[in-house]
């Protein structure tokens, strides 16, 4: 599965960069993708049609940066938040690697959530997924389990595409084909998705959890980073926690109260590995990472 997905994303990314560079708009022509799709996967014509209807969803890097990605090639090679995020990524990967053998696909599911809204879940999940993808360790799918207006799907301009919701309702859909490629090679995005006709607006937590599990099973060796709604506002995180290998609870520094964090942790009890991440750290003590100035990037030659 991995092999065919890779060249496609590569092609798409390159095409998107070309288009973006030339036209400066998102209006990417539908022609190259079916061509590419048909050339790379001539054995699956039935699937080519839905893929082509997804309107060439190669998400350009500029959009990712606009959505909150802190690493860009024209920026500094080392920035403090990015270094910090890299450290977080290392630990997440270590947890996945050290997972018990019988855990199955669930071990590759990373649930990013928080107690309150607006603590930086989307920022964390996007950057965490990008960090893993850029480091090249694994294939990453960033799953939008939130679907809120202004969430990651909206920010990346893919709100209208089929996504997690469709996957939850239509158990027969092909999960592996749903994630959209981005400008970053190993990073794909699964939007929340538009509401399919005749279905209730909100899928239940259980169905969503089942969809995630299905996705994880369909994409082996791929890490799913779930961007979920806040714990103390919605019920999804507690359902999703049950199918997650680890939870990263984002805590906004100087804002979220201890009791709120504790309450959120209670909600996430179903996941065996609960981890905390302090976001928006303003205070720099000499015992914190990155307190000793910008180390500087290696010279590029």
């Amino acid at each position: 599965m991995n092999a065919p997905a890779n060249p496609r994303a590569h092609l798409v990314e390159r095409a998107a960069e070309m288009m973006g560079g030339l036209a400066g708009g998102l209006a990417t022509p539908a022609v190259p993708l079916p061509a590419a799709g048909t050339t790379s996967r001539p054995d699956r014509p039935a699937q080519a049609a839905p893929a082509s209807t997804r309107a060439v969803p190669v998400i350009p890097r500029a959009t990712l940066v606009e959505a909150g990605l802190i690493h860009s090639p024209d920026g500094p090679l080392r920035s403090r938040p990015w270094e910090e995020m890299t450290i977080v990524q290392h630990q997440v990967l270590r947890t996945i690697r050290d997972a018990a053998p019988g855990t199955g696909p669930r071990a590759r599911v990373v649930l990013v959530t928080s107690a309150m809204p607006n603590e930086g879940k989307t920022f964390t999940s996007l950057n965490l997924a990008a960090s893993i993808a850029i480091s090249g360790a694994r294939q990453v799918v960033l799953v939008d389990a939130d679907g809120r207006l202004g969430g990651i799907s909206h920010a990346l301009g893919v709100a209208g595409a089929l996504g997690l919701r469709a996957l939850a309702h239509d158990t027969g859909s092909r999960a592996a084909a749903m994630p959209l490629p981005t400008a970053i090679e190993k990073l794909q995005v699964l939007p929340y998705g538009a509401c399919p006709d005749g279905q209730p607006d909100l899928p239940s937590g259980a169905t969503m959890a089942a969809a995630v599990l299905r996705l994880a099973a369909a994409l082996p060796d791929t890490i799913l980073v779930l961007d979920s709604p806040p714990c103390l506002s919605t019920s999804e995180p507690s359902a999703l926690a049950a199918v997650s290998g680890q939870v990263v609870l984002v805590v906004s520094a100087q804002r979220t109260q201890r009791n709120e964090v504790e309450a959120a942790l209670d909600m996430l009890d179903a996941c065996p590995v609960l981890q905390l991440l302090l976001n928006r750290v303003q205070l720099t003590a000499n015992d914190t990472f990155g307190a000793h100035g910008n180390y500087g990037a290696p010279y590029a030659t």
């Binding site: 802190i70 403090r80 938040p81 910090e84 995020m85 450290i87 977080v88 630990q91 997440v92 930086g120 964390t124 950057n127 990263v248 805590v251 520094a253 100087q254 804002r255 979220t256 109260q257 201890r258 009791n259 709120e260 964090v261 504790e262 942790l265 590995v273 609960l274 981890q275 905390l276 991440l277 302090l278 976001n279 928006r280 750290v281 303003q282 205070l283 720099t284 003590a285 000499n286 015992d287 914190t288 990472f289 990155g290």
Partner: protein, 501 residues
């Protein structure tokens, strides 16, 4: 976490609470300054008076009665002056009357006055009377009234003391009189009882026994003398006969010789025809003629008469005298001895008499001396009383009359305002610290680790550009606080109050 980290955390978190803290500071300051302005001003009036602390009793009864100290007098004065009737007088005489409506308030006012009217001795005899009130006029009036009352009280107590001194002395005199009479009577009775043993003035201070002894001694001496004289006379008489026979023929009748000597004297002064001379001649003739006749009666004793000369006769007479004297002295001696024996017996039977009498006498003497002293004192009181009525003005003098105070003495508004400012800032700081302490937010990864779960790390917030607007805003609001303080010091609120009123 290190101390620096803690401080950093507090500063950073406190900075987040700065507006709340500043709000609290402003509120505390505004209400505090209003409160300070609303504290009524206190005006103090004071008067200084000089009062002679030598009260009358002290001068008069010095040595007899216990002397009262000036401090004690001040206390007495203070107590009497701040008594309830006096304070009632003060209330009715000043405007304080209008402030009370019922008895309870009046009671409260009186207790307040007792506490707040201060009478303090400065030096000897110099007192100040102070009173503070919200109204300068009332303060002055109260002090003035107190002054008047003080004068009245001082004069009246002086007079009372004079009268009491007089009655005291009179009582003492009467009692001493009675005691003196009794002592006198006891002494007299005792004296009469033991008259023999007690020294008497008649005997020159010696007792009768001593006198008797002395007399006996004298009598015995005299007796001895008389006996010696008798022996001497007897010896002379015994030696006489031989000498008398030799010298007896030449002389003749002594009477004739006498008469002749008399005649010779007369003749030197008068002629022979003088009647006295003739009379003397006649006597001489008569005596010469009677010389034979005169010798006739002596004829029977002729042998002896021829030996008895006038000297012998004289000696014999003297011997008889001495013998009579001896017998008299011997009788006296006997009497004296008997007397002494008797007195000795009496004295031996009553050995304490002398001591008892001494006691009685001493008592009497002391009583009499005191009595006499009291009599002189009574006189001096009368003189002093006469002088006192004229010297009252000297004893009490107002040095500083009470003035109408123009500026308030309390409260110290600048100090209180500064205190309010400090309290306000302190309250703000406290609020900030309290909010930081109550804040359960996480400031560092270290805080987060306190939850006991693995912490993946922290992601720094993107460096926000250093914006000076909030700093300047806060600094401005804080400086405004000091500006407000300056306005309070400058008296702006007072002016506002006056404008409103």
């Amino acid at each position: 976490m290190q101390l620096g980290g803690v401080v950093q955390r507090y500063v950073s978190a406190g900075w987040g609470q700065r507006w709340k803290a500043l709000l609290v500071t402003w509120l505390v300051c505004i209400f505090g300054w209003m409160g300070v302005q609303l504290i009524p001003s206190q005006y103090e009036s004071s008067a200084r008076i000089y009062a002679d602390p030598d009260a009358i009793l002290a001068t008069l009864l010095r040595g007899i009665a216990v002397e009262s100290s000036p401090a004690g007098q001040v206390e007495v004065l203070q107590r009497t002056l701040l008594s309830r009737p006096n304070l009632e007088k003060v209330i009715t005489r000043t405007d304080l009357d209008q402030r009370v409506s019922d008895a309870a308030e009046r009671d409260l006012l009186i207790t307040r006055l007792t506490r707040e009217i201060r009478i303090t001795p400065q030096t000897r005899g110099l007192f100040t009377i102070d009173y503070r009130d919200v109204s300068p006029r009332v303060a002055r009036d109260v002090v003035q009234t107190m002054l008047t009352l003080f004068m009245e009280a001082a004069v009246s107590t002086d007079r009372q003391q004079m009268a009491s001194a007089r009655t005291f002395v009179a009582q003492q005199i009467t009692s001493y009189e009675v005691q003196l009479r009794q002592a006198e009577r006891r002494r007299a009775e005792f004296q009469a009882q033991y008259i023999d043993l007690l020294p008497s003035v008649a005997l020159g201070g010696a007792s009768r026994l001593e006198a008797a002894r002395a007399r006996l001694q004298q009598v015995q001496g005299e007796l001895q003398d008389a006996r010696m004289r008798r022996d001497l006379t007897q010896q002379q008489i015994d030696a006489m006969p031989t000498q008398a026979e030799g010298g007896g023929g030449g002389s003749g009748d002594p009477r004739v010789a006498e008469a002749e000597r008399n005649l010779r004297d007369l003749r030197t002064r008068f002629t022979d025809q003088h009647p006295e001379v003739t009379a003397a001649q006649r006597v001489v003739a008569q005596l010469r003629s009677s010389g034979g006749g005169g010798g006739a009666p002596r004829a029977p004793t002729g042998t002896r008469t021829t030996r008895s000369s006038p000297e012998l006769e004289q000696l014999r007479v003297r011997l008889v005298d001495v013998l009579a004297q001896i017998s008299s002295l011997e009788r006296q001696d006997r009497d004296g001895r008997a007397e002494i024996t008797r007195l000795d017996a009496v004295a031996r039977s009553e050995p304490e008499i002398q001591a008892q009498f001494m006691n009685l006498d001493r008592d009497y003497t002391v009583l009499r001396r005191n009595y006499e002293e009291l009599l002189t004192r009574r006189e001096s009181i009368q003189i002093a009383g006469a002088a006192r009525t004229n010297s009252d003005r000297v004893k009490l003098e107002v040095i500083d009359p009470p003035t109408m105070p123009t500026s308030a003495v309390a409260p110290n508004r600048p100090l209180l305002s500064a205190g309010v400012l400090i309290a306000g800032i302190g309250a703000g700081l406290m609020v900030a610290i309290l909010l930081v302490r109550l804040d359960g937010a996480f400031y560092s990864v270290h805080d987060l680790r306190g939850l006991g779960l693995p912490v993946l790390g922290g992601v720094s917030a993107p460096k926000a550009p250093r914006r000076l607007a909030p700093v300047f805003g806060f600094a401005g609001a804080f400086t405004l606080l000091f500006a407000g303080f300056g306005a309070v010091l400058a008296g702006v609120p007072g002016m506002l109050f006056r404008m409103i009123a």
